[in-house]
């Protein structure tokens, strides 16, 4: 039930924020902050004292007859006509991602705090609804429900880009929406095919994840059904052939939007692959794994090269996101314990580092009204705190040992090396290229001469707080990753990490 509350608080908080605007344009952000802090409290409660949450959950677990450690479960009928029910549950993986969502929600709020003054009520409404949708995606264990939230999180994000975005927002918002929606329809078709075949073989009409696990599909069809899921998740991730909505959406979105997009929305794709695509279609996925891993390696190298050629700061960071998510794709399809652990770590660490980098880029744009790196230079002297933060998070993104990203990428490479030497060798080159494009950013923006004599304020207190929190997170992940690895372990075990492509 607590999972439902997480979403209800955000949905209600969104409406409250919208209503609060009439009493003052600064009130909505306070309402949003209250809702997010309340959610954070609940999440921390779940993390620290999971036992207190599981009241009655054990019984439901037994009824559903699934494997693994589920911390919190909620079940109730929704549309019995189609065998659709509300099933929410988190295990270690889901809980970490929910925590990431709420935490980055607070960071996004921090980014918007000083930036969004116009129509602020509707902005915070959309922000909170997006987060609620994402939490739904991470917790839904009924395929219909999952698809429902998958679509729900799009619309508020569309509004955020379309209303508060930058110069080319219409194009970017439209592209974002159409890419995700169309790939989503393919997934819907796949879901229905899966359910239909489960129905014809067992005479039980259900969308429940647990019951659909292990459905035997005709071999040729299984591959296509799997592909429907894969395309939807790969679009969201994004992986190379379907990635090009992302640079537009990221660069045009307001800072808070970019933070949520990069930090949280991309992770829903990776989560979908781990939770749904591979467990539901183990054979077809094994068959497909070499292709997916190749796509992952191509994503890493190709987008790293494209990033190198960008002069728009936000576009550059967007491309590096695709590159890092390539590691996740590689790790997921290598499908052994190390690679999967690495993929999960990369998801979490990238959430922090990409969010921080987008906040920095957004902060710069807010101060000097351009994202063009050719206009920048020598900012170390003007804003030393900001420059230090930029240095830190860039180095983190590159994969400096001691920080979270290194642990993730290293584990992915370690795992995938056991599966394919060639692909891993190419993917590892990505680490080298990453160093090149990152150094370019630091050099162009913070070193050199301040040719245009930009004057700007250094970090505000709010910004400093946000960056420090994310910094602590990354250092923790880098120094003591065991916390996260232990949480993800039972989930990954329950997913039958056995198949060897």
């Amino acid at each position: 039930m607590i999972l439902v509350w997480l979403m209800v608080i955000l949905f209600a908080g969104g409406v409250g924020a919208w209503l609060a605007e009439s009493s003052g344009s600064e009130h909505p952000r306070a309402v949003a902050l209250a809702a997010l802090l309340l959610d954070l409290f609940l999440v921390v409660l779940m993390l620290v004292a999971p036992d207190s949450m599981g009241l009655g959950a054990v019984d439901t677990v037994a009824q559903l007859g699934q494997r693994g450690d589920w911390l919190v479960l909620f079940q109730s009928d929704w549309i019995p006509r189609f065998g659709v029910s509300f099933i929410f549950g988190v295990d270690g993986l889901g809980l970490m991602l929910v925590a990431l969502t709420v935490f980055l929600g607070l960071m996004a709020l921090g980014a918007a705090w000083g930036e969004i003054h116009e129509r602020s009520g509707f902005f915070y409404f959309n922000l909170l609804w997006t987060l609620a949708g994402v939490i739904g995606v991470f917790t839904a264990l009924d395929l219909f429900l999952f698809f429902f939230f998958w679509e729900i999180m799009l619309i508020p994000m569309y509004f955020i880009i379309a209303i508060w975005g930058h110069e080319n927002k219409e194009y970017a918002a439209m592209k974002f929406f159409i890419f995700t929606q169309v790939s989503g329809l393919l997934m819907l078709l796949s879901i229905l095919l899966l359910v239909y075949f489960h129905y014809t073989s067992t005479n039980v009409l259900t969308f429940s994840y647990f019951q659909l696990l292990g459905t035997q599909l005709p071999a040729s069809l299984g591959y296509w059904v799997m592909l429907g899921f894969f395309i939807a998740f790969a679009t969201k991730l994004p992986a190379v052939p379907v990635h090009n909505w992302l640079p537009d959406a990221h660069s045009q979105a307001p800072t808070a939007g970019s933070v949520i997009l990069a930090g949280v929305l991309l992770k829903t794709g990776a989560y979908g692959l781990i939770r749904f695509t591979i467990p539901l279609f183990p054979e077809a996925s094994a068959q497909f794994a070499p292709i997916a891993m190749t796509l992952g390696a191509i994503s890493i190298l190709y987008t790293a090269k494209v990033a190198f050629g960008q002069s728009d700061l936000k576009r550059l960071i967007a491309y590096t996101s695709v590159s890092h998510m390539g590691f996740v794709l590689l790790g997921v399809y290598a499908w052994n314990a190390q690679a999967l652990q690495g993929a999960v770590m990369t998801m979490l660490a990238h959430g922090f580092s990409a969010a921080a980098l987008f906040m920095l880029a957004g902060g710069l744009q807010h101060r000097i009204h351009t994202r063009d790196m050719d206009q920048m230079g020598g900012f170390w002297g003007v804003a030393p705190q900001m420059a230090f933060m930029a240095m830190f998070f860039t180095v983190a993104a590159v994969g400096m040992p001691g920080l979270g990203n290194f642990v993730g990428e290293f584990l992915v490479l370690l795992g995938s090396f056991q599966v394919s030497h060639t692909i891993t060798a190419f993917a590892a080159l990505g680490l080298v290229v990453a160093a090149v494009y990152s150094l370019i950013v630091i050099q162009k923006v913070f070193f050199g001469k301040n040719q245009h004599n930009h004057r700007m304020a250094d970090l505000s207190g709010m910004e400093f707080l946000c960056f420090s929190l994310m910094m602590i997170g990354l250092i923790w992940m880098g120094m003591y990753p065991q916390t996260m690895l232990d949480m993800a372990q039972p989930t990954l075990e329950s997913l039958n990490v056995a198949f060897n492509p």
């Binding site: 009928d77 929704w78 549309i79 019995p80 006509r81 189609f82 129509r119 219909f144 698809f147 429902f148 939230f149 679509e151 729900i152 799009l154 619309i155 569309y158 509004f159 379309a162 209303i163 219409e170 918002a173 439209m174 929406f177 159409i178 929606q181 169309v182 329809l185 393919l186 819907l188 078709l189 229905l192 095919l193 239909y196």
Partner: protein
């Protein structure tokens, strides 16, 4: 005639009485408000008598009409359409138009036609119902004609509809004649037996008859390639009439067509499935493609309605392969969703328009979200529902189409459905985006600020609530629909 039959006929009787009352009252006192009130209360009464009707056992009243849950459902849908249209018409015509009273009489006649079609299982009542709708529409479309400055070109639209619809009726009639000549029956259910009894050599004549009828029906439903009239007539007609065209005339027609297809077992002719599939695929594709190029909202909604009837046809075609139960249920659901969306969408455009000036250009909607959040919120809900986004009725509707399509293994049509939906997203989003833009500063006397009668607000609120309710918790509604299929 038994008392049960009289109770079943009550909706028809009430609508007829209201029509006569409106005519008589208008003869004594021309008062727009009064006539509108009489019409609304007549329609409300006709809607709420359904509580007294117990259609669990189908009842044949005269050879022409059958009353069952299916007929009751579609009759109610038609009446709701009539209520919505009358609510839109009042602010639209008030102040800018002199003789408004006959308008309501025509709306009542048209609604009556919709109810007759819903209950029809006989060629004669089918034709009577259809013509009641069509003939009312000829006059309704041309209604603002004597206005000094009509907003659009009603005469052109009316003549276009008159000629085209006349031909379509003739084609349909000829089809009926061919079927009757061979099978010797007007009654749908009897046709099934009669058809199989006809000698094999004469079967093609029956098939041709069915196909001609299909052409007539496709015209009224504006399916590609019988859609040519739709955008012009939608644009030229006054807004409340456009709403009527998009809802009541379509619901009645699809109801009777579905009954004919299933009761007469027309799917035994494989060719009918093929032709229907072609119509559906072309409608989904061209409806959406052509909607893409429109900057006029009425034309855009016209093309989008073509596409949506194409989607609807997928469920109808699936009836050839899946159990009738699911297909009838899916068709009724999608029709209801489409009904709510169309009515809501046209209500918003209508709220911004009057008989002298219709604000139906894309640019008229610029910044509506900031000028009048309520109207824009209604429109956004409608558009998201049309695009099939979760939380709305349109999503569950699309879900039904996908489900029946997968069960009927209609892969080609499902592919077209996905392509069509992808294109559709673009123009729905464009309108949403336009509403979210900053308002046009050149816009002086802003029509979005004028006050509207409570009735129209009520209609819009009801549509939005219904769309959201059916999207979030459809279970009770689905249970109702499941019992509909018992009629077959």
């Amino acid at each position: 005639m038994s008392s049960a039959a009289l109770i079943d006929l009550l909706q028809l009787i009430l609508l007829t009485i209201t029509t006569v009352v409106v005519m008589v009252v208008a003869g004594f006192k021309r008062d727009h408000g009064l006539i509108n009130a009489v019409t609304q209360s007549g329609l409300m009464a006709a809607l709420f008598v359904f509580v007294f009707i117990e259609p669990t056992t189908p009842l044949q009243v005269t050879p022409l009409l059958i009353f069952d849950e299916y007929s009751l459902f579609f009759a109610n849908l038609s009446i709701i359409g009539g209520i919505g249209v009358s609510a839109m018409a009042y602010p639209y015509f008030e102040k800018h138009h002199q003789y408004n009273e006959e308008f309501y009489m025509l709306v009542l006649c048209g609604t009556l036609g919709g109810v007759v079609m819903a209950a029809s299982n006989h060629f004669v009542s089918f034709f009577i119902g259809m013509e009641l709708v069509s003939i009312s529409l000829y006059a309704l479309i041309a209604y603002p004609l004597h206005n000094a400055k009509p907003a659009k070109a009603p005469l052109e639209a009316a003549v276009k509809y008159l000629i085209m619809s006349g031909i379509a009726s003739a084609v349909l009639l000829f089809g009926m004649a061919l079927v009757y000549a061979m099978a010797g029956s007007f009654e749908f259910r009897a046709l099934a037996a009669a058809t199989s009894a006809v000698e094999a050599g004469y079967q093609p004549v029956i098939l041709v008859g069915y196909l001609l009828m299909l052409a007539g029906v496709a015209f009224k439903l504006s399916l590609v390639p019988f859609h040519m009239w739709t955008p012009d007539v939608y644009e030229g007609a006054p807004l409340p009439v456009t709403a009527f065209l998009a809802t009541v005339s379509k619901a009645g027609m699809i109801a009777v067509a579905m009954r004919l297809l299933l009761n007469a077992q027309a799917f035994n002719f494989g060719e009918i499935t093929v032709v229907l599939s072609l119509l559906a695929a072309a409608s989904m594709l061209f409806g959406n493609l052509l909607a893409l190029m429109q900057s006029n909202i009425k034309r855009m909604l016209a093309y989008s309605s073509i596409a949506h009837l194409g989607y609807l046809l997928v469920v109808v075609i699936a009836a050839a392969a899946v159990p009738d139960l699911l297909s009838v249920e899916g068709m009724s659901y999608y029709m209801s969703a489409y009904f709510l969306m169309s009515l809501g969408g046209f209500a918003v455009v209508s709220a911004l328009s009057t008989a002298e000036k219709e604000l139906d250009h894309l640019l008229d909607f610029q910044g509506l979200f900031w000028r009048n959040p309520w109207l824009a919120a209604v429109m956004i809900t409608v558009l998201l529902s049309l695009a099939g986004i979760p939380l709305t009725a349109g999503f569950i509707g699309k879900f039904y189409i996908f489900t029946t399509g997968v069960e009927g293994q209609l892969w080609f049509l499902l592919t077209m459905l996905i392509i069509g939906s992808a294109i559709g997203l673009y123009y729905y989003l464009r309108l949403i985006y336009t509403m979210l833009q900053d308002p046009n500063p050149a816009l002086r006397d802003d029509p979005a600020k004028q006050s509207l009668p409570a009735g129209l607000h009520l209609v819009m609120a009801a549509m939005v609530l219904a769309i959201l309710y059916l999207g979030v918790y459809p279970t009770p509604f689905i249970e109702t629909l499941q019992s509909l299929a018992g009629a077959f």
